[in-house]
């Protein structure tokens, strides 16, 4: 069996030699032209004049396109048709593409793009949450509300009650490979597109529209991305469409890359939030009721904001069985870049809200926050299996697979939580300047796309007459190891070594109508589709061999590169050859759709998720109260990947996700100025974690227990859930700050050095 083995990434040998090709590494056909957008420097207004003479006459410029030059509807939106490729007169954010330069080199295109003289009649932009609320600038008519029980009554009746507010910053994806695409015109106007995208079918669909062709005229290929994290779910559309319309206009292959600053200014980021909370609880720390108001800045266009905001609501309970809950969600339209998908897809924001509530309640009661959390947990899967009534989420889904009681006990013991917490209290009593903090936080994350129809996948498998296998599926590889996992599934089904399976680029010409590789669902969906295709071929081979050897198909066993037919053993290659000679088809498609889903997103009821993935983390930090500087000292994690398909890949996902999550809540700060211009648009000003920021001690373990639902080899999705383990780092900083004085720190995120310093002063002074 190839599954459950810690095998390295399929392309590891290519990566370490620099031979792995990303879009920008594919050799360009001769005559390839290069593109750049001319961008708006104003956040809101109407274009009154666009003088492009200097752009057109700049060296090596071939053509310049504006919205008027586009023959068909070149819209880049994944949802709402509200994103013209080039402005049609209105300007909605600073950084919006106004015109497209086509030049002989990348540099020539970029230099020319800065030469335009654009006059914009500026209006006051809507930038902040309060400004958007004041103008009722929003998507959907009003707030969306999910409710369980009667939160209002329960709040008034609870023995204790408190309120608070927190702001949560957004996050730049900072995939190390910037957005990239190339379009190559083919005969009869067809288009072959290479794109660094998580969603080749969407690119195909949008490009087809933009060049006035049916989808069959467009083929999109994606071998790999240099990181995606959700930032390449819809944000690659503009480049691919630009390449296609430019290629159509010039008849030449066209390529487009965003340089890093443009990438950060133009593309969407994680949604920032403000969360107001009102909580009622008893003296034991049992929460009776919570009411949340979630406000998010969606930016200028709808993009994926509605399902993102939905998912924030769906994770407002995290791991806690709360009797009465009300969640009100405001999706605000603002004049900044359009916020988009980012690992967790709103889930992390919702979860931070309830984790703040737990922390605040524990502080108010003077209790250990870990204990307050455990007090409020959903009933365990074991107890539910033994007959206990399961807890129900605020959206009416029963929680029957809850693993966190056992995982939490194991983690608290393994990390010596109680002793370390006491030792930290002693240490803090003796050290006036440096303060330490420690925090535990759990994760319960729902797996499935909340748009139910997206939970489908296809695969195409060929077995050649020499026994080698060619594998294609609808998922894309962005470093998460999906191709490796799926190839392991194929090798296991045929009982052959992994090197007999060739993993090929995702290609809309091979597997059609795919969903984005997102929502952590890549291996769940595609693994199952590949399994179905392999099993079809295997059954045909078994039928044939059984007939040939006068036995029954159940006596045919595929194992160790060989096929056993009763007492007879032949190699898999010979079996393939024999099937071919007997005119048995050795090619098959496979299809999978996730079962059991039923969800009404407007009413907020049903079962949006197939199952939940769980995780638990403890982080210890130290802060300098005079400067706010801080470090992560130690992190311990136990994460539930079901029966892991590949422990090496899964642990890598957990580590990377934790660090990215901690980065979001600590050093990664996006700053827009009063005119709505992003001031942090390069790694010199926007700080993602570096090697020197990694925890000094970093212990990660998988919770190796089978998924209770029937997923591929009973594994669980692992892409997004561990991102939220990073919340423990933010809570640990809050814990350290709270040792400075009696008041609650009410730390906002990101907890930059400035924010920690501010909170520490406030805690000391607010007595």
């Amino acid at each position: 069996m190839s599954v459950a083995k810690p095998l390295p990434h399929d392309a590891a040998a290519l990566h370490v030699t620099g031979a792995a090709r990303y879009v920008d590494d594919v050799p360009c056909p001769t005559g390839t032209l290069h593109l750049a957008f001319g961008l708006s420097d104003t956040a809101r207004g109407t274009i009154t004049k666009m003088d492009l003479h200097a752009v057109r006459t700049a060296p090596d410029v071939v053509a310049v396109l504006t919205a008027d030059d586009l023959e068909f509807d070149a819209d880049t939106s994944p949802s709402n048709r509200d994103e013209p490729l080039l402005s049609t007169g209105e300007v909605h954010f600073a950084g919006q593409p106004l015109f497209l330069v086509i030049a002989k080199s990348h540099l020539a295109a970029r230099k020319a793009a800065t030469k335009a003289k654009v006059t914009i009649d500026a209006q006051t932009p809507i930038l902040t949450i309060d400004e958007a609320l004041a103008e009722n600038s929003r998507f959907e008519d009003g707030p969306r509300i999910y409710e369980k029980g009667n939160a209002e009554d329960a709040l008034t009746q609870a023995p204790n009650r408190l309120q608070g507010q927190l702001t949560l910053g957004g996050q730049e994806h900072f995939y190390l490979e910037g957005q990239a695409a190339m379009a190559w015109p083919q005969e009869s106007g067809d288009m072959h597109v290479f794109s660094s995208t998580q969603h080749p079918t969407e690119i195909q669909h949008k490009v087809a529209h933009a060049i006035g062709k049916p989808m069959h005229a467009v083929r999109v290929e994606t071998r790999r991305m240099g990181g995606g994290f959700g930032g390449k779910e819809s944000q690659g559309n503009a480049l691919a469409i630009a390449c296609a319309v430019a290629a159509r206009a010039t008849g030449k292959p066209c390529k487009m890359l965003y340089d890093r600053d443009d990438d950060m200014v133009i593309t969407g980021k994680r949604h920032d939030f403000r969360i107001d909370y009102d909580v009622g609880f008893d003296d034991q720390g049992r929460i009776h009721a919570v009411s949340f108001k979630q406000y998010t800045r969606c930016g200028w266009s709808m993009d994926l904001s509605l399902p993102v905001a939905d998912r924030a609501m769906l994770h407002a309970d995290n791991a806690y069985d709360i009797g009465h809950m009300r969640i009100e969600s405001h999706r605000l339209k603002t004049n900044i870049c359009s916020a988009t998908a980012f690992r967790g897809f709103g889930g992390p924001q919702g979860m931070v809200g309830i984790e703040r509530v737990m922390d605040h309640v524990a502080h108010a009661l003077g209790k250990d926050p870990a204990e307050v959390r455990q007090t409020n947990y959903y009933p365990s899967a074991k107890s539910v299996a033994a007959g206990k009534i399961p807890g129900t989420t605020p959206y009416g889904m029963e929680v029957t697979d809850f693993e966190l009681h056992e995982m939490t006990d194991a983690l608290l013991a393994k990390a010596n939580y109680a002793q370390r917490r006491a030792a930290i209290a002693d240490w803090n009593a003796q050290n006036p300047v440096l303060k330490k903090g420690i925090a535990f936080s759990p994760v319960k994350f729902g797996i499935s796309f909340t748009l139910t129809h997206l939970n489908q996948a296809g695969a195409l498998v060929h077995v050649y007459q020499d026994g080698s296998v060619h594998l294609n599926h609808g998922g894309t590889e962005m470093g998460q190891g999906l191709f490796q996992k799926v190839a392991q599934v194929a090798a296991s089904r045929f009982g052959i070594p992994l090197d007999m399976v060739k993993i090929t680029a995702t290609d809309t010409g091979k597997v059609p109508n795919t969903s984005a590789t997102a929502a952590s669902s890549g291996s769940d969906l595609n693994g199952m589709a590949v399994k179905a295709a392999c099993d079809t071929i295997r059954d045909r081979m078994a039928d044939h061999l059984a007939m040939q050897h006068q036995t029954t198909p159940d006596k045919v066993i595929f194992k160790d590169g060989q096929v056993q037919i009763g007492d007879h053993v032949i190699s898999f290659a010979d079996a393939a050859q024999s099937a071919w000679m007997a005119r048995v088809s050795l090619s098959a498609t496979g299809f999978y759709k996730t079962p059991k889903l039923k969800w009404d997103r407007i009413r907020g009821t049903g079962r949006p998720f197939f199952y939940f993935a769980y995780g638990a983390a403890i982080t210890e930090v130290v802060i300098d109260t005079l400067t706010g500087e801080n470090r992560i000292l130690r992190t311990d994690i136990i994460h539930d990947a079901g029966a892991s398909l590949n422990p090496a890949i899964d642990i890598g996902q957990v580590e990377g996700a934790y660090v990215q999550g901690a980065g979001w809540l600590t050093t990664e700060e996006l700053v827009w100025d009063d005119a709505g211009r992003l001031r942090t648009h390069a790694p010199s000003t926007y700080k993602i974690p570096a090697c020197s920021d990694r925890p000094d001690i970093f212990n990660v373990e998988l919770w190796d227990i089978e998924n209770r639902e029937d997923t591929i080899y009973r594994s669980k999705a692992v892409g997004e859930p561990p991102f939220m383990l990073g919340i423990s780092a933010w809570l640990a900083l809050s814990d350290a700050v709270s040792s400075c004085g009696p008041a609650y720190p009410a730390l906002n995120a990101p907890a930059t050095a400035e924010e920690i310093w501010r909170a520490a002063r406030k805690v000391t002074q607010d007595v």
Binding site: G18, A19, D24, G227
Partner: protein, 159 residues
């Protein structure tokens, strides 16, 4: 603009090329010489994806002009393996699963090799600070550090 004629050595091979006076070494490597192992993550010296060595010194090739390579020795990721034989660092990166999307990997390997040439026995902390200029958005760095420490150990034992 008149192009500059440059004679240099890349990974031990004498090489000549023509480039614009303002063209970076990174662009020359990638676009003129087809050596796409060095990557552009930022173009401003902040991410390390474009790391190469210039006469043995670790530099960001996005901050070096192609013309500056005249008469110098350049080392890139393409020169790290000897034919089919991977360098110990490369083997350890695979063994420790120290990569995910892999786009930071060439730069990290070049930087790590340059560290071990200067200091064959670095502490973990020295390694972490040396590699702090090489950003990785996927891995969280833990396995990268383990791979480098393990490679250093194996190289010391073999020396």
């Amino acid at each position: 603009m008149t192009k500059v004629h440059v004679t240099t050595t890349i990974n031990g091979d004498p090489t000549e090329f023509l480039c614009e006076p303002d063209e970076t070494l990174l662009d020359v490597l990638r676009d003129r010489l087809g050596m796409t192992g060095s990557k552009e993550g930022c173009g401003t010296g902040d991410c390390g994806a474009c790391s190469v060595t210039l006469n043995g010194r670790l530099v960001c090739s996005c901050l070096v002009l192609g013309a500056e390579a005249e008469g110098q020795e350049i080392g890139t990721i393409e020169g790290m393996a000897q034919g089919e034989n991977l360098h110990v660092l490369q083997k350890k990166f695979i063994e420790h699963a120290a990569l995910q999307c892999g786009i930071c990997t060439p730069g990290l390997l070049v930087a790590a090799k340059s560290l071990l040439e200067k200091n064959p026995d670095p502490t973990e902390e020295e390694t972490r600070y040396w590699l702090a200029g090489n950003l990785c958005r996927c891995t969280g760095y833990d396995k990268i550090i383990r791979a480098v420490m393990d490679a250093a150990k194996e190289m010391r034992e073999a020396a």
